[in-house]
Amino acid sequence: MTAIGSARSDAPTGLRRVAGRLRADRWATTGLVVIGLFVLAAVFAGPLTAISGQNPYTYHLDRLDDSGSPLGFGGGISPTHWFGVEPLTGRDLFAIVVFGSRTSLLVSVSATVLAVVVGVLVGITTGFFGGWYDRTLSRVIDVLFGFPSLVFMISLTAIVPTSFPKPLLIILVIGFFGWPSIARVVRGQTLSLRERNFVVASNAMGGGPWHIIAHQVLPNVSATIIVFATISIPSMIGVEAALSFLGVGVPPPTPSWGRTIGDAVTWVQTDPSYLVFPGAALFLVTLAFNVVGDGLRDALDPRRGVVSR
């Protein structure tokens, strides 16, 4: 049915058009705004918490009762402590959440950059050159892909000497387990691009492999890379928070949502707001990235989605 397929598979995927389609997507736009707010909060965490005169390190024991629970409504919410205070220490929860976004975004974005750089490099070269190089690395990717990575990460944090900076270790470990998925996607695309006539033509007219990779292949996978980076940030955020939740992530006193949530486990009955604020922040930023990623993917591939939520 040649006439019915009006949605063409080779429809334009230029970045400008994608941006246009994304703007028309109400949900994705909202997601972008939420992400923007979190980034702003992370960048201006100092001035933001200074408004109420707080920081995430100072103890306010006067805000607690004898058992260590915060005094007052909703975990001690007050004009000075907007989200209340932390049980046992009385540290300002708003400051912890705001500075926590800094940790979360820094770790996840760095790990994503690492994973994307390695993944794209491996994916394009394996797909393009093939042969033994491809077979070996593809097998490595397959194995790493199905690996109990969280177990490995937890173990590694115990093995690596304490002198090694922990945040850097977390970034390296998360990034290391993140690259196979993007390598696999990019490799698949490169494989099909390699068979496309414009790539063969470029080869036939004497373009060297790196010329072809840079000019023919890379521009055509860039859209995929952007989408992939967007949807891997929330999972990186999740892993960092999970490690911190389990007590093997970013070490205290550096604020981290995951650790705060982990600490909140024992307080969930007496002080639920200790869980709610960092939990809501984590959920919101993850949701925002996922929604934007979905929107990007639909914008790039008009055949998909149409109604995805």
């Binding site: 109990p148 969280l150 490995f152 949701l287 939520r309």
Partner: protein, 332 residues
């Protein structure tokens, strides 16, 4: 290629992978500057004591000898030390905890039922719910049902399991007093209690993956239903139900099987988190405790065990995949 050849090929590949994993795990954990003997020799750690512990644990040998002993231990068991103080570690030996004075294998075996109960149940829940709602969503594309399922799904993929778990405890345990907030009861002791204690962990762990599978299945289903052979099936005059199930779902599930194989590793990680949320003493708790007490033998042994387990499970999924998709064997 015949089925026997296909299986043999996969087994050979799996053995290579297992060996590579053992080598890499060994290299990472034993060549890093942290000295396991130092950690096990207690305080104060005199040089004589350290040397004795090193000899006992086999760390005085050259690295290749150590690696060989390590490998042989997995397939043939090994003995630490000699004489009266010798400790035997039966096959498969994944190491010996000098802090807990027991073999890692015994530790794993004692904790395994907890983790397996969580993981298997959760996987069953997420497959059924995820695939089911994905198909429902695809078939009612654009309707209120589709929107509803997809909205829950995107929220689901964005909600970390521990957050879901804590909220579930808050609601079902502390507010409604319906289910226990944690702990584990063995199936043999009381099946009903077993179920009661596992209901929340299953739901918690299945929520995020079920959401992922709902989205995946919906996408696959929509794609498959646009294929030429669906049109052929309709042109044959088959009922819509038969077209959807036999021609649509059957093909849409093929990538789902692949992803499921890859998710088994994540399932184990998820179980670790779930155990902490519901204070269950499973493998995850074992690992976390070992990390905090720096019991490296347990950490390494368990990591290797987990890797082996997942590779084996992947192998099983691969075979299933070969059954589901007749084209796979031709491609080997």
């Amino acid at each position: 290629m015949r089925t026997a050849g296909f299986v043999a090929y996969r087994i050979a590949g799996m053995l290579v992978v297992l060996l590579a994993i053992a080598a890499i795990t060994y290299a990472i954990f034993y060549l890093l500057p942290t000295n396991p003997a130092q950690l096990s020799c207690g305080k104060p750690c005199t040089p004589e004591n350290l040397a004795r512990v090193e000899r006992f644990m086999g760390y005085d040998l050259p690295w290749y000898q150590q690696f060989w002993d390590f490998l042989r231990g997995i397939v043939a068991g090994r003995t630490y030390g000699s004489g009266a103080g010798a400790v035997t570690c039966a096959t498969p030996c994944f190491g010996y905890s000098f802090q807990l004075n027991t073999t890692v294998t015994d530790l794993i075996v004692s904790r395994f039922p907890v983790t397996a109960s969580i993981a298997v149940g959760a996987a069953a829940v997420w497959l059924v719910v995820g695939v089911g709602s994905g198909v429902a969503s695809a078939l009612t594309r654009g309707s209120a049902i589709d929107r509803g399922i997809m909205t829950i799904a995107i929220a689901g993929v964005s909600a970390p399991s521990y957050l879901v778990g804590l909220l579930a405890i808050l609601f079902f345990s502390f507010t409604l007093h319906l289910l226990p907030s944690g702990g584990y009861v063995a199936f043999g002791d009381d099946p009903l209690q077993w179920l009661g204690h596992l209901a929340l962990p299953w739901f918690t762990l299945a929520f995020i993956s079920g959401a992922v599978y709902a989205r995946l299945t919906r996408g696959q289903m929509l794609e498959v239903m646009g294929e030429d052979y669906i049109r052929t099936a309709r042109a044959k005059g088959l009922t819509e139900r038969r077209v959807v199930v036999r021609h649509g779902l059957r093909n849409a599930l093929i990538p789902v099987v692949t992803i499921f194989g890859l998710d088994l590793g994540g399932l184990l990680g998820g179980a670790v988190i779930t155990e902490k949320v519901f204070s269950m003493q499973g493998l995850g708790a074992l690992l976390i405790d070992a990390v905090h007490t720096l019991d490296l033998q347990v950490v390494v042994g368990f990591t290797l065990f987990a890797a082996f387990l997942i590779v084996l499970a992947n192998f099983a999924v691969d075979l299933v995949y070969g059954l589901v998709d007749p084209r796979v064997k031709a491609r080997v």
